[in-house]
């Protein structure tokens, strides 16, 4: 396999994992904070957070282009800006993946029985302990579903990534990019193995996680007796 293709595979994996981590932490935190907070304009904030889900990737990409460019706010912090680096690909994938974690976590937190959280409080637990020992484990199956979707979305990110990270083989070229440009050039011998690898990998990850979470939940939702 050509060196650039191997690089694209490894880069895609690294970008998707990092972007999923960023989206998971920020998505869960936002979901928890907004589930409780009451302030004017809350609905508008929630709508903004979900925007990347409904906007065309090119619109998200254009927004990020302005944000990450030399003259944007990020350009002030990082001299030269982040455009056409693999960091930009991580940011684009994280932005696209964020709403999937956020939305699933939001729904999962809403399902958590407030009495169980209150029981923990009366048993001496502070808010942080309540969150990590009761709220998060009870909401985990829903959050995990969001994380799996986010990972899949990050791995497949194309439009926004192309606009902010470009398609530089050996530097910012991810697998979806490599497949698109190989197919466009009629180079099916490069495209086909990549497609097969992505298919197999995605299937294994999603199948494995679902299986694991199914068992994890079944552990404590056995048939109730009497």
């Amino acid at each position: 396999m050509p060196e650039e293709v191997v690089h694209a595979l490894l880069l895609s994996l690294r970008v998707a994992l990092l972007a999923t981590a960023v989206a998971a932490v920020s998505g869960v935190a936002c979901a928890r904070l907004l589930a409780r907070a009451r302030f004017p304009g809350k609905e508008a904030v929630e709508a903004v957070l979900l925007l990347p889900l409904v906007l065309p990737p090119t619109v998200v990409g254009f927004g990020l282009l302005l944000l990450l460019g030399q003259n944007g706010p990020v350009g002030w912090l990082v001299p030269g800006g982040l455009l056409f680096t693999w960091s930009a690909a991580v940011i684009a994938a994280a932005v696209a993946a964020f709403p999937l974690v956020y939305q699933n976590a939001r729904a999962a937190f809403a399902q958590v029985d407030p009495d169980q959280e209150n029981a923990a409080r009366t048993l001496g637990a502070g808010e942080l302990l309540v969150f990590f020992t009761v709220t998060l484990p009870l909401a985990w199956p829903g959050i995990l579903a969001g994380i799996v979707l986010a990972f899949a979305r990050a791995l497949g990110e194309f439009g926004a990534t192309l606009m902010v990270a470009g398609n530089i083989p050996g530097k910012t070229q991810t697998v979806p990019m490599a497949i698109y440009f190989a197919v466009e050039a009629g180079d099916y011998r490069t495209a086909l193995p990549l497609v097969a690898i992505v298919l197999l990998f995605s299937f294994t990850v999603i199948f494995g996680l679902h299986r694991w979470s199914g068992r994890h939940i079944a552990r404590y939702t056995g048939q109730r007796r009497g």
Partner: protein, 219 residues
């Protein structure tokens, strides 16, 4: 001694509670649903904040509107058995029972473990320690909730409709167990019920008095 004198404005009426419960005694709050019983318990536990008044336990203020004191639930040493038990569904029976010992060390933790062992044996559920709550019957769940509340050695015990979800035969048995609690633990116990049979457990029974837009629970 638990001293309660609070007022809380609810959407449809103003709730007033004014009573004392000495250690070793059981007070029953008996009234129809929607008369503020659970709200009173949650105010005692620190899960809701009254609008006015004070709550003291053994002379220590848990809540005092005038002085701006409102101890968080975690620091009140209140044992609370919720109506639907609120067992942690993702933890085993034994992990549920020991939850209140988080962060305790040394002798305190040892004493808590001994209490947990003793209570599990006494309530006859020692063999269930590795089960999850979803695998228990109603009576077993109730006992786990009660043990979990007692393991922390609470200074007051609050029971929200503890027998409501159980069938009749089981009720009689658990009623006897609850009846022995106040004297054995030498703490005040407050029980909330809408069923008159539970009142027989109590040293004293309070009923709500409705006048105008106010519901009062006054001794």
């Amino acid at each position: 001694m638990l001293v309660v004198e609070i007022e809380k404005r609810l959407p449809h009426f103003t709730l007033r509670a004014n009573f004392t419960v000495p250690a070793g005694k059981l007070l029953a709050l008996a009234g129809p649903s929607g008369s503020g019983k659970t709200t009173i318990l949650e105010c005692l536990a620190g899960l809701q904040r009254p609008d006015a008044g004070h709550i003291t336990l053994e002379g220590q203020p848990l809540f005092a509107a005038a002085a701006g004191i409102n101890l968080p639930a975690a620091r009140r040493r209140v044992g609370f058995v919720f109506q639907a038990y609120a067992l942690f569904e993702h933890l085993t029976v034994w992990e549920n029972v020991l939850y209140g010992l988080w962060g305790l060390r040394g002798e305190e933790k040892e004493a808590g473990l001994r209490r947990a062992e003793g209570l599990m044996a006494r309530f006859g559920i020692g063999h269930l320690r590795n089960r999850f709550p979803a695998q228990l019957s109603g009576g077993e769940r109730q006992r786990v909730a009660l043990i979990r509340a007692l393991v922390r050695d609470p200074a007051v015990l609050l029971l929200d409709e503890p027998l409501a979800a159980l069938d009749r035969g089981l009720r009689e048995q658990l009623r006897q167990e609850i009846k022995e609690l106040p004297a054995e633990w030498r703490i005040p116990v407050v029980l909330v019920t809408h069923c008159c049979c539970e009142e027989r457990l109590a040293t004293r029974v309070l009923r709500p008095v409705r006048s105008g837009g106010t519901v009062s629970w006054t001794a």
